[in-house]
């Protein structure tokens, strides 16, 4: 989902919880734009999400009695270049070059370790990401059951036609 023009995220776990976190992040980024007239850095956005995850919600009334059951991959582009952050329900976040989350994440992570290098172009990265996803998915990869999004430097969710083009290159 899109958080701001320059930041997007992918989620795994309880999707309803993820939407709450994303909504909070959207409000925080727009507040920042209102107060300071500039886009929020990706790290600060991640920090804002993790602050919420840590407290199980905000305020007395709205806070939950359980953690948010969701991991997020937050991808964005700011004055320090492109960056990727991985958060978990504890509210900790790590910066990564490549990460996989979800049920097939262990296998996917090890494949990423083998195939990732710093000089990948956007096209190569698309192909690698989709091929690893194909390995861990049970059904066949089609334009309608796979979503691809990139932040380069603005967030863009691929249309089914663009996904089709990437699948054709696999």
């Amino acid at each position: 989902m899109e958080i701001d023009e320059h930041v997007g995220c992918a989620m795994s776990g309880l999707i309803a919880d993820a939407r709450t976190l994303v909504e909070h992040a959207r409000v925080e980024t727009q507040n920042h734009r209102f107060s300071y007239g500039e886009p929020m850095t990706v790290e600060s956005t991640t920090q804002a999400i993790c602050d919420l995850a840590l407290r199980f919600g905000e305020g007395e009334e709205e806070s939950m009695s359980r953690p948010f059951g969701v991991s997020l991959l937050i991808a964005g582009h700011d004055e320090n270049g492109p960056s990727l952050y991985y958060t978990d329900p504890s509210g900790t976040f790590w910066q990564c070059n490549a990460k996989a989350i979800g049920s097939g994440s262990e296998g996917a992570d090890s494949s990423l370790q083998e195939q990732f290098n710093k000089e990948l172009t956007l096209q190569e990265a698309e192909t690698i990401a989709l091929s690893i996803l194909k390995q861990v998915m049970e059904e066949k990869v089609t334009p309608n059951n796979v979503d691809i999004a990139m932040v380069a430097p603005n967030y863009h969710l691929y249309t089914p036609a663009e996904v089709e083009a990437v699948i054709a290159r696999l």
């Binding site: 209102f34 107060s35 300071y36 007239g37 500039e38 929020m40 850095t41 790290e43 600060s44 920090q47 004055e79």
Partner: protein
């Protein structure tokens, strides 16, 4: 009886007469919170140098003076800023006055908020001190949260929001924000009392502003903001030429404005690229 029984079921009528709140609202002075703003704008519009010292209520006949709670005071002074290709000059005089009296000759109106951002404010010093303290604290919080210092455009937006926050009981502060933007070019932002702001190539605010702005307009000839494509408003003058211009402009204002003075001392240099001048008077 049955009638009494019915009566006891009805809710008790209030003894007080019913008030007509609409008529009351029209009679009551609903502008009690906005009155300071009205008077503020009156004071600035009338021009400080030609009316009586604005530390007393503007005129005995206005509604506000009957209330006797005029909370502002104009401590005078002038602030000027000029933006160049890779520098910004921010200058302010150092006299603090009230009415026809001088409180001190060595009071700085300039505050360095970030390494590339300096604010100069004239007006009511009580509000100015509070405002500058507020901004400095917010800058420190920003530094801790985002691991970088605030840029000048970010501070500009923050100052505008801070001023508008008190729209109905304003800071009596006329600000000029100067500094370098993220590309290293000089930028100057000038404000009114409630936060309306614009990025310009140069600005003057305060009691001597009406005397100084025409001179700056003449010397620096800013392109109109309505031009398409947008033209840069920063001056092509060199840093030393801009400093000389500022000194000359203060000298001119000093001739006619009792609240502004300057003494032609050599000025201390604080930053290589960002120079703010405190002009002490004697």
């Amino acid at each position: 009886s049955a009638q009494n029984g019915l009566r006891s079921l009805r809710p008790p009528r209030s003894r007080r007469p019913r008030r007509n709140l609409i008529k009351e609202g029209r009679k009551r002075d609903t502008g009690h919170r906005t009155a300071p703003l009205r008077l503020l704008l009156q004071a600035t519009n009338s021009g400080d140098s030609t009316t009586s010292p604005p530390s007393s209520p503007p005129s005995p006949t206005t509604a506000m003076s009957r209330r006797g709670d005029w909370v502002y005071e104009n401590n005078g002074g002038t602030c000027v800023a000029i933006a160049g290709a890779d520098y910004c000059v921010v200058a302010a005089d150092t006299r603090l006055s009230v009415g026809y009296n001088i409180l001190t000759r060595e009071h700085s109106k300039i505050c360095e908020l970030a390494d590339k951002c300096v604010i100069a404010s004239s007006g009511f010093q009580g509000d100015i001190k509070a405002l500058q303290k507020n901004l400095a604290a917010r800058e420190l919080l920003y530094q801790h949260q985002h691991n970088k210092r605030m840029s000048c455009p970010a501070m500009a937006q923050l100052l505008s929001n801070t001023l508008y926050y008190k729209r109905f009981f304003p800071y009596y502060a006329f600000n000029v924000l100067g500094g370098l933007d993220s590309e290293g070019k000089g930028c100057v932002y000038s404000y009114d009392a409630v936060g309306s702001y614009e990025r310009t190539g140069y600005s003057a605010q305060g009691s001597g502003s009406t005397l100084i702005m025409p001179v700056l307009d003449n010397q620096l000839k800013s392109p109109s903001p309505l031009l398409v494509p947008a033209r840069d408003a920063v001056t092509p003058l060199s840093e030393s030429e801009a400093v000389d211009l500022v000194k000359d402009v203060f000298a001119s204002a000093t001739e006619r404005d009792i609240y502004t003075v300057c003494f032609p001392l050599s000025v201390p240099r604080d930053h290589r690229l960002l120079l703010f001048i405190h002009l002490p008077l004697y």
